[in-house]
């Protein structure tokens, strides 16, 4: 029984480690998307501006639409997700601190964040 639970425990730990690695990979992927989005930002804007201008002939606007669609999909800002920079958690992330609520609570209660104090009145 004791042996069994031990192996179970180690398996769970391994699973957790794997999850962590996956989340880190998600962060790396997200970072790549961010770099791409920054790189293609001007092009996106330019094509979109031409597309919105009804003074241009319809053909030219169509072409602009095509060009916009041809850009890499990962260069779109809507594909970016704010993730926790420590754990990679995709939800419950404070934008200002760039960390998840769990990490934030941990660090704040340890006093590692400047100017953050637990409310009490």
């Amino acid at each position: 029984m004791g042996l069994n639970s031990k192996s179970e425990c180690s398996r769970r730990r391994q699973h957790l480690k794997l999850m962590e690695t996956r989340r880190e990979n998600r962060n790396i992927h997200d970072n790549q998307r961010r770099q791409l989005a920054a790189k293609y930002e001007l092009k996106h804007k330019l094509f979109k501006a031409f597309l919105r201008d009804p003074a241009l002939p319809a053909e030219a606007r169509e072409q602009m639409q095509l060009k916009l669609a041809k850009l890499p999909r990962n260069s779109s800002f809507t594909r970016i997700r704010n993730r926790c920079i420590f754990t990679g958690r995709p939800r419950g992330v404070y934008q200002l601190f760039r960390m998840s609520r769990i990490v934030f609570r941990e660090l704040a209660s340890r006093g590692a964040l400047n100017g953050i104090k637990k409310a009490s009145w």
């Binding site: 961010r34 031409f50 800002f77």
Partner: protein
């Protein structure tokens, strides 16, 4: 005191030319609203903090330095031993027939 409409129009036009705004009295749809937005690319791209510099990075930066990587040396040694025993990686198949030869067969 009422100001003539034409006069007001003129003023707005001048104002736009002075402050580099687009003058659009008929409120026609132009792509300007897209171009007017601020660029957020650099801020978005720098969301994740940079990796701290490691010893590996320093070694990569100065390839002319003589350094010793124990793990790498051990790995290369192990490969040499395996190769000597005939347990190295198989040779790259050059032609299609060669690569098809052993497919589907279990040995």
């Amino acid at each position: 005191m009422a100001v003539a409409r034409a006069r007001m129009h003129e003023l707005l036009k001048l104002q736009a030319s002075l402050f580099n705004h687009s003058f659009n009295p008929s409120n026609a749809r132009t792509g300007n609203s897209v171009l007017r937005e601020r660029l957020i690319g650099p801020a978005v791209a720098s969301y994740y903090p940079k990796r701290p510099v490691s010893i590996k990075d320093i070694v990569r930066m100065f390839p002319e330095w003589e350094t010793f990587d124990e793990a790498e040396a051990e790995r290369i040694d192990n490969i040499a031993i395996l190769k000597a025993r005939g347990k190295g990686p198989p040779k790259k198949k050059r032609t299609k027939e060669e690569s098809k030869k052993n497919k589907g067969k279990k040995k």
